[in-house]
């Protein structure tokens, strides 16, 4: 360890002396301190963090000064590196946003060499080996294998503290003593519920051990000492957290809940079968959807309520990850798949257009890993039919899983097969809208005889008489009306038991443990309290006996105990306003670049306010834009609405400094909900800015020190990159503007660099592409090029956007020309440059053969009707026309996917980059074999554009694909 490090040679022998001494003294002091911590932690196997240096704040300032001075002189030695590690952790604690290295470099003159990052990682590894230091874990740490060290050793960076406080507050009612005593498990539970926090907090939460230890420490009482964190470090975090009133309150309430658990001596346990836990207690089937019936106009319709998937996510993080990233398919639910991440919001009801087939899993992730879908298939199970529903209110019935009826009550019975012909008078067929099932209404007689019992048995239904068990007292979280109830963790269920017979005793078997409870003389009803139930499912068998000890009646009741669901700031379906975002927690970039879709649900026709609040890294408000909207705001309306907000001058001016963006929707009678989007942590990112010299881009490089190559594509030659370099401040300037792409290994990032112009009239680029070929390779290359321009991040500068659209239009026209043939190529060029080609000319140029003229006729005839339809629906109509007339190899029936490909190719080829490459190749080859198809598609695109002014951002107006 004493070998001299050759990386940081002193600038001059004299200059290093003083710094070296200070560093040496600090190193020795820290070494002793961390050795002590290591020894005290070794018994519990808890790691040590560099932030646990135990220095007072003045000493930290001094340490920083000494380290900065030493680095500027190149005087860090291999035996004095501990202060550097502490310094790096301190910056990790304070920084916010994604500019760790930029912050580091700006505060540390002399720290400019990217290779120093590797050096820092070596030192942190040494810290781990020598002092039992924490080792970063989780996918983020794997991906960012250097920066993860100082960030992890910062324990809980300041900008993440608010998120953790809120998460602890929301989860406080689900805390158990066992969880408090098992930080790993606590971390897992919290991580599973972190899906609606910022992406940076989600990265932090991937390290469940760290999350759990920090959480357990924060939840300790004021006088308790954490075995996981040094008292001074914990106090520092607590003090910083308390700076914000809301965070202080959240933490206070979470700590109060934890303290109550400790003093109460009530230790509900969380065990599951096969998990080393207590036998006989099982977790409720987590993804069993709840079924209900609702009376719609044409009869009963089945609905499925998706349960809380977060416990599943706790056990299988990869499932949560896929649910967040991919769309979901619900068996029986028609229409497009469920938006990405939507199923992570529990309690949503979906109408079943068709009863789910027996063989199909109820829940699947579209294109998901087979392991994920296999877990979901195992966990989401529709019980075998018939399905019994208890009428809970007029027009509303909930499923009774016990399939048992009570005398005098009303039910709906759903059957796959036609009902038997010999129905009793009190059972009659009723209309059902859900396809694939029949329904009977059962008005069970008040007095049941053997004939009734036999009739019911033939329908697969049992009868409950002489005994009724149901929840009493505090209204349960859910009750199906017959045998299954749900309470929140830490609530003690109470059951009301009645019998019409004379009873002397009852035997209760809960989770296989029998308890005899005497029945009071002369009573026909009792209340029974079941306390200290663990989270999970508990089966209760109630048996009543008469004075002769003969069994009178038996009933099984299922008690589910679950943690409360967290309420995201964006609201829930139980409230009058709710924001639904796709993905669930969009980043600022996704929002800004139009990749995120936001919907606002609320009473139709009501006018609400939407505020867009932009804040910088310190949390200071930079701009506020406000719009009035009529609810609901549908996904297709969002792009236009956001484009207006984004176009607000006050927003444009500051966007490039923005760190968080809050979308707040409010109404005086409906309250307010909010969605917070933050800049994500990216390995490479461009940030746009402007100064006296004009617009420029700044490169934020969080790579592991890999060399970064920068290519710049001019607006006038958009397929011809030039290799350029950023200046000493990582700035990139180019007066003509263009597309800047930075790449390091497999990582790359692109952004439009706006031109330096004052007026739009000064900027009229004429993009010229190099000659291409009508081949699979040539067209694929063009699509890829369009993708590059299309996917580049937007800056707030309108000239940049203008240039991008010009380029994308040129690429599209050029590609259509290549495929469509020489004559069409000439027409495309004339259309682009002179705009003097009439629709008739274009339609004629589709082709002279009969089937080509027929397609041209359809295009001409349908244009007016298709203008008001979204692009996807136009593709359906186009497919109909092609199937009717086109003589295309392998094209004999309607193929909406191919029609969609053609229209995307003709209007937004960049949007094809997300398609599967194999499928894309096949589709390209098909259009190359029948070039008139691209001509027809282009005709439709241009004709729609000529009739549209929807204001939605798109390369060709009217063609904003979603």
């Amino acid at each position: 360890m004493i070998s001299r490090d050759k990386k940081f040679e002193p600038a001059s022998p004299g200059g290093s002396e003083a710094g070296g001494e200070d560093l040496g003294a600090l190193h020795v002091r820290l070494h002793e301190h961390f050795c002590g911590l290591r020894d005290s932690r070794s018994a519990i196997g808890a790691p040590v963090f560099a932030l646990e240096h135990g220095l007072a704040s003045a000493e930290v300032s001094l340490l920083c000064e000494v380290v900065v001075s030493a680095i500027s002189e190149g005087a860090i030695y291999s035996d004095t590196w501990l202060p550097l590690v502490v310094y790096a952790a301190e910056i990790g604690y304070e920084f916010s946003g994604d500019e760790y290295w930029q912050t580091f470099e700006s505060r540390t003159p002399g720290w400019t060499d990217g290779k120093n990052r590797t050096y820092l990682r070596q030192r942190f590894c040494e810290f781990k080996d020598l002092y039992g230091g924490a080792e970063p874990v989780g996918p983020w740490a794997k991906h960012f294998s250097i920066i993860c060290w100082p960030i992890s050793h910062a324990v809980l960076p300041a900008d993440l503290q608010r998120h953790l406080a809120r998460l602890l507050y929301e989860y406080r009612r689900a805390l158990t003593s066992d969880l408090l005593a098992d930080p790993e498990e606590l971390g897992r539970h919290l991580a599973a519920r972190a899906f609606h926090t910022s992406s940076r907090f989600q990265h932090f939460a991937q390290n469940v051990g760290l999350l759990g230890r920090v959480a357990a420490s924060l939840l300790l009482g004021e006088r308790d000492q954490s075995p996981f964190l040094l008292a001074s470090t914990l106090n520092r975090i607590l003090e910083d957290l308390s700076d914000e009133r809301a965070a202080r309150r959240w933490l206070h309430d979470a700590r109060t809940a934890a303290a109550r658990l400790r003093t109460r001596g009530f230790l509900p346990t969380l065990h599951s079968r096969g998990n080393g836990g207590e036998e006989g207690v099982v977790l409720a089937p987590l993804t069993d959807p709840k079924l209900s019936l609702q009376m719609d106009e044409g009869g009963w319709s089945a609905y499925m309520e998706v349960p809380d998937l977060s416990p599943l996510a706790g056990r299988f993080p990869e499932v949560a990850d896929e649910l967040g990233r991919r769309r979901a398919l619900l068996a029986g639910v028609a229409g497009p798949p469920i938006a990405r991440g939507r199923l992570l919001y529990p309690g949503q009801r979906f109408r079943l257009d068709e009863w789910p087939p027996d063989v199909e899993p109820l829940l699947m992730v579209e294109g998901g890993e087979s392991a994920t879908n296999s877990i979901l298939a195992d966990q989401s199970v529709l019980p075998p039919g018939p399905w019994l529903f208890s009428l809970r209110a007029p027009g509303y019935a909930t499923e009774v899983r016990s399939k048992q009826v009570r005398p005098g009550a009303e039910y709906i019975l759903v059957l796959k097969d036609a009902p038997p012909p010999d129905l009793p008078q009190w059972a009659f067929g009723v209309a059902v809208e859900t396809v694939g099932v029949h329904a009977l209404e059962l008005q069970v007689p008040s007095v049941i005889d053997e004939g009734h019992v036999a009739s019911l048995r033939r329908m697969g239904i049992g009868v409950l008489t002489d005994l009724e068990v149901r929840p009493a007292g505090l209204v349960p979280a859910s009750w199906d009306g017959e045998g299954q109830a749900e309470w929140l963790a830490a609530e003690d269920p109470v059951l009301f038991v009645t019998s019409t017979r004379r009873i002397s005793k009852s035997i209760w078997v809960i989770d296989d443990q029998p308890v005899v409870i005497p029945w009071p003389d002369g009573e026909n009803q009792v209340f029974i309290e079941v306390g200290d139930l663990a989270i999970g499912r508990h089966e209760v068998l109630v048996s009543l006996f008469d004075p002769d000890n003969a069994l009178v009646a038996e009933e099984t009741v299922v008690l589910d105990i679950r943690p409360p669901r967290l309420r995201p700031e964006s609201g829930t379906g139980r409230e009058g306003l709710v924001i639904l975002a796709t993905p669930v927690s969009p980043t600022l970039n996704e929002l800004w670049d139009g990749e995120a879709v936001v919907e606002v649900r609320g009473p139709p026709g009501v006018e609400a306010r939407i505020d867009l609040v932009l804040r910088d890294r310190s949390g200071a408000k930079l701009a506020l834009a406000r719009e009035g909207v009529h609810l609901p705001v549908e996904a297709q309306d969002w792009a236009g609405l956001f484009d207006r907000i984004r176009g607000d001058e006050s927003v444009q001016k500051v966007y490039d400094e923005v760190e968080t963006c809050e979308i707040r929707v409010s109404h005086d009678d409906l309250g307010a909900v909010a969605l917070r989007c933050e800049r994500p942590f990216a390995a490479l990112r461009w940030a746009a800015a402007r100064d006296g010299q004009g617009p420029f881009l700044r490169l934020i490089d969080n790579t592991e020190g890999n060399p970064v190559e920068i290519s710049l594509y001019d607006f006038s030659s958009p397929d011809h990159p030039e290799i350029v370099a950023v200046d000493d401040h990582s700035h990139l300037r180019f007066k003509a503007g263009g597309l800047a792409v930075a790449s390091a290994g497999t990582i790359s990032t692109a952004m439009i660099l706006p031109p330096t112009v004052r007026h739009l009239g000064d900027f009229q680029p004429v993009p010229r592409l190099r000659p291409g070929r009508a081949s699979l390779e040539g067209i694929s290359h063009r699509i890829e090029l369009a993708g590059k321009w299309g996917a580049a991040s937007r800056s707030s500068n309108p000239f940049g956007e203008f240039g991008r659209v010009k380029v994308l239009r040129s690429i599209t026209a050029d590609m259509a020309g290549l495929i469509g043939g020489h004559q069409w190529f000439a027409l495309e060029r004339r259309t682009t440059e002179k705009e003097d080609v009439s629709e008739e000319v274009l339609l004629r140029a589709i082709g002279s053969k009969g089937y080509q003229r027929a397609v041209a006729h359809d295009v001409s005839r349908w244009t007016e009707r298709l203008v008001s339809e979204p692009p996807q629906e136009r593709a359906e109509s186009f497919a109909v026309s092609l199937a009717a007339h086109a003589r295309i190899p392998r094209y004999r029936s309607e193929d909406p996917r191919f029609a969609e490909f053609l229209l995307r190719l003709a209007s937004a080829p960049d949007s094809l980059c997300g398609w599967d490459s194999e499928e894309l190749s096949i589709q390209v080859q098909r259009v190359l074999q029948a070039p008139f198809l691209i001509r027809a598609a282009r005709c439709l695109v241009l004709a729609i554009e000529a009739r549209t002014s929807d204001g939605l951002p798109a390369t060709f107006e009217g063609w904003a694909w979603r």
Binding site: A246, D296, R351, A472, I517, G573, V606, G671
Partner: protein
Amino acid sequence: MEIARIERTQLAHRVVESLGLDPQTARLDSSTAIAASVRRAASFLCPTPPAALVREVNDALFGLTESPLQEIRDAIYSAVNALVALGDLVELPLEDSGGLSRRHLFLGPPSYVPQASRCIVLGVRPEGAPILSEGMLGRIEYDGEVRFIRRREESEDLEELLAGEGLFGLGLEHWLKAPRRASPGDLVEEYIARLDAAGDSGDIEGIRMIDPSSDVVYYRGRWRAPKQDDDGRFVARRPQAYGADLWCFAEVRDGRVGKLIDLPIASPIARGADEAWRLQAAIDRLSGNPQRLRIRRLPGQAPIVDVFSPLPSWHQRRLEYNAARADRSGGALFSYSLAADDVAEEVRYLTEMLWLESEEAGGSDHGSR
């Protein structure tokens, strides 16, 4: 796991405690405790039709109180209505995925209405979560269904504290906002014009209507099904397959509904009942059978105003603001105690907005005809 029998009274006591109330001051069948039970049930059930909410609370309280079953059921209905009137719950149209629009109850947003000496706390959080943090929860006081927090001292910035708790500040003016003043004739004409423009409704099953000729001091007794000889326009309610019964204004000929318009007409988030009750008050005034208001003056006590018909939420809120709840008496639906100086102003407001006829207990008429 522990299991044991629990006595009814002990359980009732514990439920009151679990609802955050003091069992020494609130019985389980008190309006305060029932309202708390409704809020808890709503936090799990919403969006829901009122009937499902009432059933859920009724089932949970069954056998726990000494009150007769019907009385408890009525009290739960009253609590649901009061919570909607106050803003703890909101009745909104809900368009389901089948495209059908129904009216359901949603959770009202956690909010506060500032007053000079206190703030009224409104709204319900999902999942049975408390409306305020531990530190503030203990400061909540109750007056029937109303929750409020007193200022500890005149200068206490309670608004800031409540905003810090995530509550939405509602201006008093907004909370008390009433419809514009109108004469009963103008108001009825406005609805008739709408009704005339409506198309044929077809048969409406299960419709019930308010009989204008019935006794105005017995609200429940005013409802009935259409009779064969009914001709005219009526305030009515019609059942919905799954949702709150819809308030409507119907034209009836020979006992059959010919046309109808659903209420509210003012705004999708207005309350149908508010429009219906005001419209009925106007109809009653025009038919010479005005609704009543009774003022009781007892020695040494503040005057009490008895109301015999349901009040629209904007007026119920006004009374919550200006008056204190009093024990109901003499068949009244609501009774409020007012400062002696405020009586004249409140009576004037009621007679201007709802055209009620006031009378002093004992018969002296202060009618406003």
